[in-house]
Protein backbone atom coordinates (compact mmCIF):
# COMPACT_ATOMS: atom_id res chain seq x y z
CA UNK A 1 0.00 0.00 0.00
CA UNK A 2 1.20 3.52 -0.77
CA UNK A 3 1.90 5.64 2.26
CA UNK A 4 0.37 9.01 2.82
CA UNK A 5 1.50 11.20 5.68
CA UNK A 6 0.00 14.44 4.41
CA UNK A 7 -3.31 16.17 4.23
CA UNK A 8 -4.41 16.05 0.59
CA UNK A 9 -7.35 17.81 -1.04
CA UNK A 10 -8.57 16.24 -4.30
CA UNK A 11 -10.69 18.75 -6.20
CA UNK A 12 -12.51 16.56 -8.73
CA UNK A 13 -13.45 18.09 -12.08
CA UNK A 14 -17.23 17.76 -12.27
CA UNK A 15 -17.70 20.88 -14.36
CA UNK A 16 -19.90 23.43 -12.61
CA UNK A 17 -20.18 21.91 -9.15
CA UNK A 18 -18.16 20.82 -6.15
CA UNK A 19 -16.77 17.38 -5.45
CA UNK A 20 -13.81 17.26 -3.08
CA UNK A 21 -12.13 14.23 -1.60
CA UNK A 22 -10.26 14.98 1.62
CA UNK A 23 -7.47 12.50 2.25
CA UNK A 24 -6.11 12.38 5.77
CA UNK A 25 -2.72 10.95 6.76
CA UNK A 26 -2.96 7.16 7.01
CA UNK A 27 -4.57 5.71 10.11
CA UNK A 28 -1.88 3.63 11.77
CA UNK A 29 -2.16 0.94 14.43
CA UNK A 30 1.06 -0.93 15.07
CA UNK A 31 2.30 -2.18 11.71
CA UNK A 32 -1.00 -1.66 9.96
CA UNK A 33 -1.80 1.39 7.85
CA UNK A 34 -5.15 2.31 6.37
CA UNK A 35 -6.10 5.07 3.94
CA UNK A 36 -8.52 7.44 5.59
CA UNK A 37 -10.68 9.94 3.75
CA UNK A 38 -13.90 11.91 3.61
CA UNK A 39 -15.92 13.49 0.85
CA UNK A 40 -17.15 17.07 0.67
CA UNK A 41 -20.00 17.28 -1.88
CA UNK A 42 -20.47 15.05 -4.90
CA UNK A 43 -21.10 17.29 -7.92
CA UNK A 44 -23.53 15.74 -10.40
CA UNK A 45 -25.29 18.65 -12.08
CA UNK A 46 -26.10 16.60 -15.17
CA UNK A 47 -25.97 12.99 -16.36
CA UNK A 48 -22.45 13.41 -17.81
CA UNK A 49 -20.92 13.99 -14.38
CA UNK A 50 -23.39 12.25 -12.08
CA UNK A 51 -21.21 9.16 -11.63
CA UNK A 52 -17.82 10.84 -11.80
CA UNK A 53 -17.37 11.16 -8.04
CA UNK A 54 -18.18 7.48 -7.51
CA UNK A 55 -15.73 6.52 -10.26
CA UNK A 56 -13.03 8.73 -8.74
CA UNK A 57 -13.49 7.35 -5.22
CA UNK A 58 -13.35 3.78 -6.56
CA UNK A 59 -10.14 4.49 -8.49
CA UNK A 60 -8.63 6.36 -5.58
CA UNK A 61 -9.22 3.41 -3.24
CA UNK A 62 -7.80 0.97 -5.78
CA UNK A 63 -4.71 3.13 -6.40
CA UNK A 64 -4.04 3.46 -2.69
CA UNK A 65 -4.46 -0.25 -1.94
CA UNK A 66 -3.20 -2.13 -4.97
CA UNK A 67 0.28 -0.74 -4.94
CA UNK A 68 1.41 -3.61 -2.78
CA UNK A 69 1.50 -6.84 -4.85
CA UNK A 70 0.93 -8.92 -1.72
CA UNK A 71 -2.20 -6.94 -0.97
CA UNK A 72 -5.25 -8.95 -0.07
CA UNK A 73 -8.38 -6.85 0.40
CA UNK A 74 -10.02 -7.11 3.78
CA UNK A 75 -12.78 -5.36 5.62
CA UNK A 76 -10.18 -3.25 7.39
CA UNK A 77 -8.58 -1.77 4.31
CA UNK A 78 -9.77 1.81 4.41
CA UNK A 79 -11.82 4.19 6.49
CA UNK A 80 -14.47 6.32 4.82
CA UNK A 81 -14.97 8.85 7.60
CA UNK A 82 -17.70 11.15 6.35
CA UNK A 83 -19.72 12.59 3.53
CA UNK A 84 -20.32 16.31 3.95
CA UNK A 85 -23.07 17.89 1.87
CA UNK A 86 -22.26 21.59 2.19
CA UNK A 87 -25.76 22.52 0.99
CA UNK A 88 -28.35 20.62 -1.04
CA UNK A 89 -28.10 22.42 -4.40
CA UNK A 90 -28.04 20.04 -7.34
CA UNK A 91 -24.43 20.74 -8.37
CA UNK A 92 -23.27 19.51 -4.95
CA UNK A 93 -25.83 16.81 -4.21
CA UNK A 94 -26.60 14.56 -7.14
CA UNK A 95 -23.24 12.76 -7.31
CA UNK A 96 -23.64 11.67 -3.68
CA UNK A 97 -26.63 9.43 -4.40
CA UNK A 98 -24.79 6.90 -6.63
CA UNK A 99 -21.89 6.93 -4.18
CA UNK A 100 -24.15 6.10 -1.24
CA UNK A 101 -25.87 3.40 -3.27
CA UNK A 102 -22.50 1.82 -4.05
CA UNK A 103 -20.86 2.14 -0.64
CA UNK A 104 -23.92 1.25 1.48
CA UNK A 105 -24.90 -1.77 -0.62
CA UNK A 106 -25.65 -4.91 1.33
CA UNK A 107 -22.57 -6.77 0.07
CA UNK A 108 -20.23 -3.95 1.14
CA UNK A 109 -18.58 -4.61 4.53
CA UNK A 110 -19.85 -2.27 7.24
CA UNK A 111 -16.30 -0.98 7.81
CA UNK A 112 -16.16 0.32 4.23
CA UNK A 113 -19.34 2.36 4.48
CA UNK A 114 -19.26 6.08 5.17
CA UNK A 115 -19.45 6.55 8.93
CA UNK A 116 -21.13 9.93 9.05
CA UNK A 117 -23.22 12.24 6.92
CA UNK A 118 -22.88 15.94 7.68
CA UNK A 119 -25.80 18.14 6.80
CA UNK A 120 -26.23 21.92 7.00
CA UNK A 121 -29.75 21.69 8.45
CA UNK A 122 -31.55 23.61 5.70
CA UNK A 123 -34.76 21.70 5.06
CA UNK A 124 -34.81 21.90 1.30
CA UNK A 125 -37.94 20.78 -0.50
CA UNK A 126 -36.58 19.27 -3.72
CA UNK A 127 -37.37 15.65 -4.45
CA UNK A 128 -33.64 14.93 -4.87
CA UNK A 129 -32.79 16.09 -1.36
CA UNK A 130 -35.84 14.54 0.30
CA UNK A 131 -34.94 11.27 -1.45
CA UNK A 132 -31.47 11.48 0.06
CA UNK A 133 -32.93 11.97 3.56
CA UNK A 134 -35.19 8.99 3.03
CA UNK A 135 -32.21 6.91 1.95
CA UNK A 136 -30.28 7.87 5.08
CA UNK A 137 -33.31 7.10 7.24
CA UNK A 138 -33.29 3.60 5.79
CA UNK A 139 -29.51 3.21 6.25
CA UNK A 140 -29.00 4.11 9.87
CA UNK A 141 -25.43 2.79 9.93
CA UNK A 142 -24.48 6.17 8.46
CA UNK A 143 -24.71 8.60 11.37
CA UNK A 144 -26.62 11.73 10.38
CA UNK A 145 -25.19 14.90 11.91
CA UNK A 146 -26.32 18.51 11.58
CA UNK A 147 -23.11 20.44 12.02
CA UNK A 148 -22.83 24.09 12.90
CA UNK A 149 -20.06 26.59 13.50
CA UNK A 150 -17.69 25.51 16.23
CA UNK A 151 -18.16 21.77 15.72
CA UNK A 152 -14.79 20.02 15.77
CA UNK A 153 -13.63 16.64 14.52
CA UNK A 154 -10.18 15.20 14.94
CA UNK A 155 -8.48 12.62 12.73
CA UNK A 156 -5.16 12.00 14.46
CA UNK A 157 -3.29 15.28 14.04
CA UNK A 158 -5.75 16.80 11.59
CA UNK A 159 -8.40 19.07 13.06
CA UNK A 160 -11.58 19.73 11.10
CA UNK A 161 -13.36 22.79 12.40
CA UNK A 162 -16.75 23.88 11.10
CA UNK A 163 -16.72 27.64 10.48
CA UNK A 164 -20.26 27.92 9.10
CA UNK A 165 -23.26 27.84 9.13
CA UNK A 166 -23.59 29.88 12.30
CA UNK A 167 -26.35 29.02 14.77
CA UNK A 168 -27.77 32.50 14.21
CA UNK A 169 -28.24 31.85 10.49
CA UNK A 170 -29.52 28.36 11.11
CA UNK A 171 -32.22 29.70 13.40
CA UNK A 172 -33.48 31.76 10.50
CA UNK A 173 -33.75 28.92 8.01
CA UNK A 174 -37.44 28.54 8.69
CA UNK A 175 -38.18 31.95 7.27
CA UNK A 176 -37.39 32.67 3.67
CA UNK A 177 -34.70 35.17 4.61
CA UNK A 178 -31.66 32.93 4.34
CA UNK A 179 -30.29 32.09 0.93
CA UNK A 180 -29.50 28.39 0.67
CA UNK A 181 -25.95 29.23 -0.42
CA UNK A 182 -25.48 31.01 2.90
CA UNK A 183 -26.41 27.78 4.67
CA UNK A 184 -23.25 26.16 3.24
CA UNK A 185 -21.01 24.23 5.56
CA UNK A 186 -17.56 25.86 5.58
CA UNK A 187 -14.71 23.68 6.82
CA UNK A 188 -11.28 24.58 8.13
CA UNK A 189 -8.83 21.66 8.00
CA UNK A 190 -5.55 22.13 9.80
CA UNK A 191 -2.46 20.04 10.35
CA UNK A 192 0.58 21.69 11.88
CA UNK A 193 1.00 25.02 10.14
CA UNK A 194 -0.88 23.85 7.05
CA UNK A 195 -4.48 25.04 6.85
CA UNK A 196 -7.09 24.54 4.11
CA UNK A 197 -10.52 26.15 3.96
CA UNK A 198 -13.34 24.59 1.94
CA UNK A 199 -16.16 27.03 1.45
CA UNK A 200 -19.09 25.42 -0.35
CA UNK A 201 -21.11 28.24 -1.90
CA UNK A 202 -21.04 30.58 1.12
CA UNK A 203 -22.05 34.16 0.34
CA UNK A 204 -21.55 37.44 2.14
CA UNK A 205 -24.03 36.82 5.02
CA UNK A 206 -22.25 33.61 5.90
CA UNK A 207 -18.77 35.16 5.70
CA UNK A 208 -19.92 38.03 7.90
CA UNK A 209 -20.86 35.54 10.60
CA UNK A 210 -17.59 33.63 10.19
CA UNK A 211 -15.54 36.80 10.65
CA UNK A 212 -17.63 37.72 13.70
CA UNK A 213 -17.42 34.30 15.33
CA UNK A 214 -13.75 33.63 14.64
CA UNK A 215 -11.98 36.90 15.45
CA UNK A 216 -8.28 37.29 16.08
CA UNK A 217 -7.44 35.45 19.28
CA UNK A 218 -6.25 37.61 22.13
CA UNK A 219 -3.67 36.13 24.43
CA UNK A 220 -3.18 37.27 28.01
CA UNK A 221 0.21 37.61 29.52
CA UNK A 222 0.56 38.06 33.26
CA UNK A 223 3.41 40.13 34.63
CA UNK A 224 5.51 38.32 37.24
CA UNK A 225 4.73 38.67 40.93
CA UNK A 226 7.42 40.20 43.06
CA UNK A 227 7.61 38.91 46.60
CA UNK A 228 9.78 40.81 49.08
CA UNK A 229 11.64 42.43 46.22
CA UNK A 230 12.79 39.05 45.03
CA UNK A 231 11.96 38.34 41.44
CA UNK A 232 10.07 35.09 41.01
CA UNK A 233 9.67 34.75 37.27
CA UNK A 234 7.69 31.50 37.39
CA UNK A 235 4.85 32.97 39.38
CA UNK A 236 2.35 35.01 37.38
CA UNK A 237 -0.30 37.28 38.84
CA UNK A 238 -3.67 37.08 37.06
CA UNK A 239 -4.94 40.04 39.09
CA UNK A 240 -2.09 42.28 38.17
CA UNK A 241 -3.40 45.66 36.94
CA UNK A 242 -0.99 45.65 34.01
CA UNK A 243 -2.23 42.56 32.18
CA UNK A 244 -0.95 42.67 28.63
CA UNK A 245 -3.08 41.59 25.67
CA UNK A 246 -1.36 40.30 22.60
CA UNK A 247 -3.60 40.03 19.58
CA UNK A 248 -1.61 38.13 17.03
CA UNK A 249 -3.22 34.85 16.14
CA UNK A 250 -5.58 34.99 13.20
CA UNK A 251 -7.87 31.98 13.42
CA UNK A 252 -8.92 32.30 9.79
CA UNK A 253 -5.47 32.40 8.30
CA UNK A 254 -4.99 29.63 5.73
CA UNK A 255 -2.67 28.52 2.93
CA UNK A 256 -5.24 26.88 0.66
CA UNK A 257 -8.69 28.18 -0.19
CA UNK A 258 -11.39 26.61 -2.31
CA UNK A 259 -12.97 29.81 -3.60
CA UNK A 260 -16.68 29.99 -2.71
CA UNK A 261 -19.50 29.49 -5.20
CA UNK A 262 -17.41 28.56 -8.23
CA UNK A 263 -15.79 32.00 -8.35
CA UNK A 264 -19.04 33.98 -8.57
CA UNK A 265 -19.05 37.63 -7.54
CA UNK A 266 -21.28 36.85 -4.54
CA UNK A 267 -18.94 34.30 -2.99
CA UNK A 268 -15.81 36.43 -2.72
CA UNK A 269 -15.11 39.74 -1.08
CA UNK A 270 -11.76 41.38 -0.55
CA UNK A 271 -12.24 41.76 3.21
CA UNK A 272 -12.54 38.07 3.90
CA UNK A 273 -9.85 37.05 1.41
CA UNK A 274 -7.55 39.47 3.24
CA UNK A 275 -8.46 37.83 6.57
CA UNK A 276 -7.89 34.34 5.19
CA UNK A 277 -4.76 35.44 3.26
CA UNK A 278 -4.36 32.17 1.32
CA UNK A 279 -1.42 31.58 -0.97
CA UNK A 280 -3.02 28.86 -3.09
CA UNK A 281 -6.52 28.82 -4.62
CA UNK A 282 -8.86 26.36 -6.33
CA UNK A 283 -11.96 27.26 -8.32
CA UNK A 284 -14.52 24.68 -9.38
CA UNK A 285 -16.12 26.00 -12.54
CA UNK A 286 -16.88 24.95 -16.09
CA UNK A 287 -15.74 26.32 -19.41
CA UNK A 288 -17.36 29.41 -20.96
CA UNK A 289 -18.79 27.31 -23.78
CA UNK A 290 -20.70 25.14 -21.33
CA UNK A 291 -22.38 28.14 -19.69
CA UNK A 292 -23.28 29.55 -23.08
CA UNK A 293 -24.69 26.28 -24.40
CA UNK A 294 -26.75 25.69 -21.27
CA UNK A 295 -28.39 29.11 -21.22
CA UNK A 296 -26.56 30.01 -18.07
CA UNK A 297 -24.62 32.93 -19.48
CA UNK A 298 -26.96 35.19 -17.48
CA UNK A 299 -24.92 34.43 -14.39
CA UNK A 300 -21.82 35.95 -15.99
CA UNK A 301 -18.37 34.51 -16.52
CA UNK A 302 -16.81 32.01 -14.11
CA UNK A 303 -14.69 32.94 -12.33
CA UNK A 304 -16.30 36.36 -12.31
CA UNK A 305 -14.04 39.33 -13.21
CA UNK A 306 -14.54 40.75 -9.70
CA UNK A 307 -13.26 37.49 -8.20
CA UNK A 308 -10.25 37.53 -10.54
CA UNK A 309 -9.57 41.11 -9.53
CA UNK A 310 -9.64 40.25 -5.82
CA UNK A 311 -7.38 37.21 -6.27
CA UNK A 312 -5.05 39.33 -8.42
CA UNK A 313 -4.83 41.91 -5.64
CA UNK A 314 -4.22 39.23 -3.02
CA UNK A 315 -1.47 37.58 -5.08
CA UNK A 316 0.16 40.92 -6.05
CA UNK A 317 -0.69 40.41 -9.72
CA UNK A 318 -2.87 43.48 -9.98
CA UNK A 319 -1.15 46.78 -10.69
CA UNK A 320 -2.94 50.00 -9.88
CA UNK A 321 -1.05 51.69 -12.72
CA UNK A 322 -2.37 49.06 -15.14
CA UNK A 323 -5.91 48.46 -13.90
CA UNK A 324 -6.85 45.64 -16.29
CA UNK A 325 -8.76 42.71 -14.88
CA UNK A 326 -6.26 39.83 -14.83
CA UNK A 327 -7.14 36.63 -16.65
CA UNK A 328 -6.62 33.27 -14.95
CA UNK A 329 -3.38 32.46 -16.80
CA UNK A 330 -1.76 35.67 -15.65
CA UNK A 331 -2.51 34.84 -12.01
CA UNK A 332 0.16 32.16 -12.18
CA UNK A 333 0.35 28.68 -10.71
CA UNK A 334 -1.06 29.72 -7.33
CA UNK A 335 -4.56 29.39 -8.71
CA UNK A 336 -5.99 26.21 -10.18
CA UNK A 337 -9.34 26.00 -11.95
CA UNK A 338 -11.09 22.77 -12.81
CA UNK A 339 -12.03 24.01 -16.30
CA UNK A 340 -8.34 24.46 -17.19
CA UNK A 341 -6.49 21.96 -14.98
CA UNK A 342 -9.07 19.20 -14.64
CA UNK A 343 -8.99 17.34 -11.36
CA UNK A 344 -6.40 18.83 -9.00
CA UNK A 345 -4.66 17.26 -6.01
CA UNK A 346 -3.38 19.75 -3.44
CA UNK A 347 -0.94 18.45 -0.84
CA UNK A 348 -0.96 20.60 2.29
CA UNK A 349 2.37 20.07 4.02
CA UNK A 350 2.73 20.39 7.77
CA UNK A 351 5.00 23.41 7.27
CA UNK A 352 2.31 25.23 5.32
CA UNK A 353 3.64 24.61 1.80
CA UNK A 354 1.06 23.64 -0.81
CA UNK A 355 1.91 21.49 -3.82
CA UNK A 356 -0.55 21.00 -6.70
CA UNK A 357 -0.77 18.19 -9.26
CA UNK A 358 -3.16 18.39 -12.23
CA UNK A 359 -4.81 15.36 -13.83
CA UNK A 360 -6.02 17.39 -16.85
CA UNK A 361 -9.22 15.41 -17.37
CA UNK A 362 -12.26 16.93 -19.09
CA UNK A 363 -15.56 17.27 -17.19
CA UNK A 364 -17.23 14.48 -19.14
CA UNK A 365 -14.39 11.97 -19.06
CA UNK A 366 -13.41 9.75 -16.16
CA UNK A 367 -10.01 10.23 -14.56
CA UNK A 368 -7.24 8.03 -15.92
CA UNK A 369 -6.39 5.50 -13.20
CA UNK A 370 -2.72 5.24 -14.14
CA UNK A 371 -2.30 9.00 -13.99
CA UNK A 372 -4.08 9.14 -10.64
CA UNK A 373 -1.84 6.38 -9.33
CA UNK A 374 1.25 8.37 -10.34
CA UNK A 375 -0.08 11.50 -8.66
CA UNK A 376 -0.65 9.76 -5.31
Amino acid sequence: MKRNDNLRIHVINVGHGDSILVEFPDYTTGQQRKPRFGLVDGGGLDSEVKNKTLDYVNKFVRCRLEDDPSHAPSAEDFIFEFICLTHPHKDHLYGILPLLNAYCAQEIPVNHRPREFWDCGFRYNTVGYLGLLQYLRDHREVQFIRVTSGTEFHYDDVEVLVLAPSVDLRNRYDTYGVDLNDASIVLRLSRGNGVAVLTGDAHFDSWGKVCEEFPRKKHLTYPPVRIRDEETPDVRDPNHPAIVFLSKENQLNCQFLKIAHHGSKRGTSYEYIEKLSPSSFAITCDKDEWYESHQRSWVGKFPHPITRLIIGEQTDQFEVDDPRIPDIESLGDKIGTSNMNGTMIFTIKGNGNVVRKNLNDERNEMVDEARLGQAL
Binding site: R123, N125, T126, L130, L133, L180, W298
Partner: protein, 129 residues
Protein backbone atom coordinates in the same frame (compact mmCIF):
# COMPACT_ATOMS: atom_id res chain seq x y z
CA UNK B 1 -72.53 12.60 -14.06
CA UNK B 2 -69.02 12.29 -12.73
CA UNK B 3 -66.56 14.17 -14.88
CA UNK B 4 -63.61 12.03 -15.88
CA UNK B 5 -60.07 13.40 -15.96
CA UNK B 6 -58.76 13.50 -19.49
CA UNK B 7 -56.09 10.87 -20.26
CA UNK B 8 -53.56 13.54 -21.28
CA UNK B 9 -53.74 15.18 -17.88
CA UNK B 10 -50.46 15.15 -16.02
CA UNK B 11 -49.17 16.36 -12.67
CA UNK B 12 -45.87 18.08 -12.13
CA UNK B 13 -44.16 18.96 -8.85
CA UNK B 14 -42.18 22.15 -9.13
CA UNK B 15 -39.69 23.44 -6.53
CA UNK B 16 -38.06 26.85 -6.74
CA UNK B 17 -34.36 26.00 -6.46
CA UNK B 18 -32.68 29.30 -7.13
CA UNK B 19 -34.15 32.75 -7.59
CA UNK B 20 -31.86 35.45 -8.91
CA UNK B 21 -33.65 38.79 -8.63
CA UNK B 22 -30.74 40.66 -10.18
CA UNK B 23 -30.75 38.58 -13.35
CA UNK B 24 -34.55 38.16 -13.08
CA UNK B 25 -34.33 34.42 -13.65
CA UNK B 26 -35.35 31.42 -11.64
CA UNK B 27 -34.24 27.78 -11.70
CA UNK B 28 -36.76 25.12 -10.75
CA UNK B 29 -36.74 21.39 -10.14
CA UNK B 30 -39.49 19.76 -12.13
CA UNK B 31 -40.60 16.22 -11.32
CA UNK B 32 -43.55 14.35 -12.86
CA UNK B 33 -46.04 12.17 -11.01
CA UNK B 34 -44.84 8.61 -10.78
CA UNK B 35 -46.43 6.17 -13.20
CA UNK B 36 -47.74 4.17 -10.21
CA UNK B 37 -50.23 6.90 -9.31
CA UNK B 38 -53.07 8.22 -11.40
CA UNK B 39 -53.87 11.88 -11.75
CA UNK B 40 -57.38 11.22 -10.51
CA UNK B 41 -56.20 9.62 -7.31
CA UNK B 42 -53.76 12.44 -6.76
CA UNK B 43 -56.21 15.26 -7.26
CA UNK B 44 -59.19 13.77 -5.47
CA UNK B 45 -57.65 12.09 -2.50
CA UNK B 46 -54.12 13.15 -1.76
CA UNK B 47 -54.01 16.80 -2.69
CA UNK B 48 -57.15 17.58 -0.75
CA UNK B 49 -55.60 16.22 2.43
CA UNK B 50 -52.61 18.52 1.95
CA UNK B 51 -50.12 15.81 2.69
CA UNK B 52 -47.24 14.70 0.54
CA UNK B 53 -45.55 11.40 -0.04
CA UNK B 54 -42.18 11.11 -1.74
CA UNK B 55 -43.23 7.93 -3.52
CA UNK B 56 -45.71 9.92 -5.63
CA UNK B 57 -42.90 11.48 -7.61
CA UNK B 58 -40.69 9.98 -10.29
CA UNK B 59 -37.31 11.22 -9.07
CA UNK B 60 -35.48 9.61 -12.00
CA UNK B 61 -37.33 11.87 -14.43
CA UNK B 62 -36.32 15.02 -12.57
CA UNK B 63 -35.08 17.94 -14.67
CA UNK B 64 -33.97 21.50 -14.08
CA UNK B 65 -35.78 24.28 -15.89
CA UNK B 66 -34.91 27.95 -16.23
CA UNK B 67 -37.54 30.68 -16.42
CA UNK B 68 -37.69 34.41 -16.38
CA UNK B 69 -39.29 35.34 -13.04
CA UNK B 70 -42.20 37.04 -14.81
CA UNK B 71 -42.74 34.00 -17.01
CA UNK B 72 -42.89 31.63 -14.05
CA UNK B 73 -45.22 33.89 -12.11
CA UNK B 74 -47.58 33.85 -15.06
CA UNK B 75 -47.33 30.07 -15.38
CA UNK B 76 -48.21 29.69 -11.71
CA UNK B 77 -50.92 32.33 -11.87
CA UNK B 78 -49.49 34.36 -9.00
CA UNK B 79 -51.04 37.72 -8.19
CA UNK B 80 -48.79 40.77 -7.93
CA UNK B 81 -48.98 40.76 -4.13
CA UNK B 82 -48.01 37.07 -3.91
CA UNK B 83 -44.37 36.47 -3.27
CA UNK B 84 -42.25 33.96 -5.15
CA UNK B 85 -39.37 32.65 -3.03
CA UNK B 86 -36.75 29.94 -3.06
CA UNK B 87 -37.83 26.58 -1.63
CA UNK B 88 -41.50 27.08 -2.56
CA UNK B 89 -43.28 24.01 -3.94
CA UNK B 90 -46.17 23.87 -6.40
CA UNK B 91 -48.19 21.02 -7.80
CA UNK B 92 -49.32 21.80 -11.32
CA UNK B 93 -52.07 19.82 -12.96
CA UNK B 94 -51.71 20.17 -16.70
CA UNK B 95 -53.98 19.29 -19.54
CA UNK B 96 -52.55 19.05 -23.05
CA UNK B 97 -49.39 20.69 -21.76
CA UNK B 98 -51.20 23.74 -20.34
CA UNK B 99 -51.61 24.36 -16.59
CA UNK B 100 -55.16 23.61 -15.48
CA UNK B 101 -54.80 24.03 -11.75
CA UNK B 102 -51.95 25.05 -9.45
CA UNK B 103 -51.68 24.07 -5.78
CA UNK B 104 -49.29 25.92 -3.51
CA UNK B 105 -47.75 22.90 -1.79
CA UNK B 106 -44.90 24.35 0.29
CA UNK B 107 -46.61 23.51 3.57
CA UNK B 108 -47.06 19.77 2.91
CA UNK B 109 -43.52 19.61 1.53
CA UNK B 110 -42.17 21.21 4.70
CA UNK B 111 -44.15 18.77 6.80
CA UNK B 112 -42.57 15.91 4.89
CA UNK B 113 -39.04 17.30 5.29
CA UNK B 114 -39.69 17.85 9.01
CA UNK B 115 -40.89 14.27 9.38
CA UNK B 116 -37.75 12.97 7.67
CA UNK B 117 -35.52 15.22 9.73
CA UNK B 118 -37.16 14.13 12.97
CA UNK B 119 -36.74 10.49 12.10
CA UNK B 120 -33.06 11.07 11.30
CA UNK B 121 -32.49 12.90 14.57
CA UNK B 122 -33.78 9.95 16.60
CA UNK B 123 -31.22 8.03 18.55
CA UNK B 124 -30.59 4.67 16.85
CA UNK B 125 -32.21 1.85 18.79
CA UNK B 126 -29.97 -0.67 20.48
CA UNK B 127 -30.55 -4.40 20.06
CA UNK B 128 -32.06 -4.63 23.57
CA UNK B 129 -34.66 -2.01 22.72
Amino acid sequence: MKKKTSPNTEVQRLTVERLDKEAEVVRVESVPLSGKYTTEKFTKELAQKEIEELSWWDADSEKSEMYRIKELREKLGLREDEELSENMVFWIIKQSGKPLMVFHATQPARMLSKKLYTSLAERPKTIEE
